[in-house]
Symmetry: C2
Subunit: 204 residues, 2 copies
């Protein structure tokens, strides 16, 4: 068995991706074998380069890091996944672990710890930011029903009820009812606030 751990990096921001590559490339036992900028490029690149560990950002175009994690676990179960994200969205942690990630790190953690996290994940351990784990437990599962979440998602940009109703093929009354339910469950005063809260908790 070779001593170097082969890595795949996925992040939509080329500069960050390149910088992470440089950071991890400094470690003698790590080798970056593939870099991609979108979630749907993860599996093809992984099949080609057979990395030991995939480091995936959550925010990516076309397919996010969570979906990419799930797809990668199916296509290449031997590759372990370390999910990285910008800030503490509690819901993402739970969803990433459910999707089959072995580790979850926020970009606030010191750079020196990333290589360690990669090594632990490669060794079969689970790596989770402790403060984030507490937040995740506090935030818990999404209280929203599927429709409620869907209506909130459609309301994101500030679309009025009529537009949401058309988009989802529902009556305006139904949309308002679902919104009302979502507002109640998120303890918000508003549709706008409800969207923000649900989004912050990773419920959308």
């Amino acid at each position: 068995m070779s001593a170097t751990i082969r890595l795949l990096l996925a992040d939509d921001q080329a500069l960050v991706r390149g910088a992470l590559s440089a950071l991890l490339g400094l470690e003698p036992d790590l080798e970056v074998v593939a870099e991609v900028g979108a979630g749907d490029e993860v599996v093809p690149a992984a099949l080609e380069h057979r990395p030991d560990v995939a480091v995936l950002d959550v925010e990516m175009p076309r397919m996010d890091g969570i979906a990419a994690t799930a797809a990668l676990r199916i296509a290449l179960p031997s590759t372990r996944v370390l999910v990285v994200t910008t800030f503490g969205r509690p819901g993402y942690l739970r969803r990433a672990m459910q999707a089959g990630a072995s580790g979850f790190v926020v970009k606030d953690t010191p750079a020196a710890q990333l290589a360690d996290a990669v090594r632990r994940v490669h060794a079969g351990l689970r790596v989770v930011d402790p403060t984030l784990a507490a937040d995740s437990l506090a935030a818990g599962e999404s209280p929203l029903s599927r429709r409620e979440a869907e209506v909130l998602r459609a309301s994101r940009g500030g679309a009025p009820v009529a537009a949401v109703a058309r988009q989802l093929h529902l009556s305006e009354g139904t949309v308002r009812n679902h919104l009302s339910g979502a507002i109640g469950k998120t303890l918000a005063a508003n549709r706008t606030e409800a969207v923000r809260i649900a989004d912050d908790n990773g419920w959308l």
Copy 2:
């Protein structure tokens, strides 16, 4: 004169900061002499370490990169500033240049170009992402009056009119009038949409 360019790095995400440091540290003619994680730490660190170029992220806690640029230009005019940001907010470019930045780079640019951008800025040249420059011209100056922008800012989280009025010590009618003006000027249909548009264009 020494051949190495001394750098200060400012980014609130420790992982990204460390990664950028690793990336730039690979270049033999560049040396990272200071790293900070918030805008208000930029000037003190610069005064202590006297960098040639400061690489500042726009999004930072307490003081953003634009304000930090302006403060740094005053405190240490010999240090040139390269502003880096996550995505194309056209308004930021204009404001960063007005604040005295010598360069503006988005995190979408290839990692290899960052070192070049630093060298050009150090040489006294201006560095601007060309696509972003076009967007910036298209978006232009903010059409919003000071009060309108203020009211939009206060409405960000979805706060109702009553709360905004209390916060700004205005009557509810006045707040609604300013909001109405902002909605008209942004061509939005909504308060929520107006906030999004104005924010995307860097008008807040």
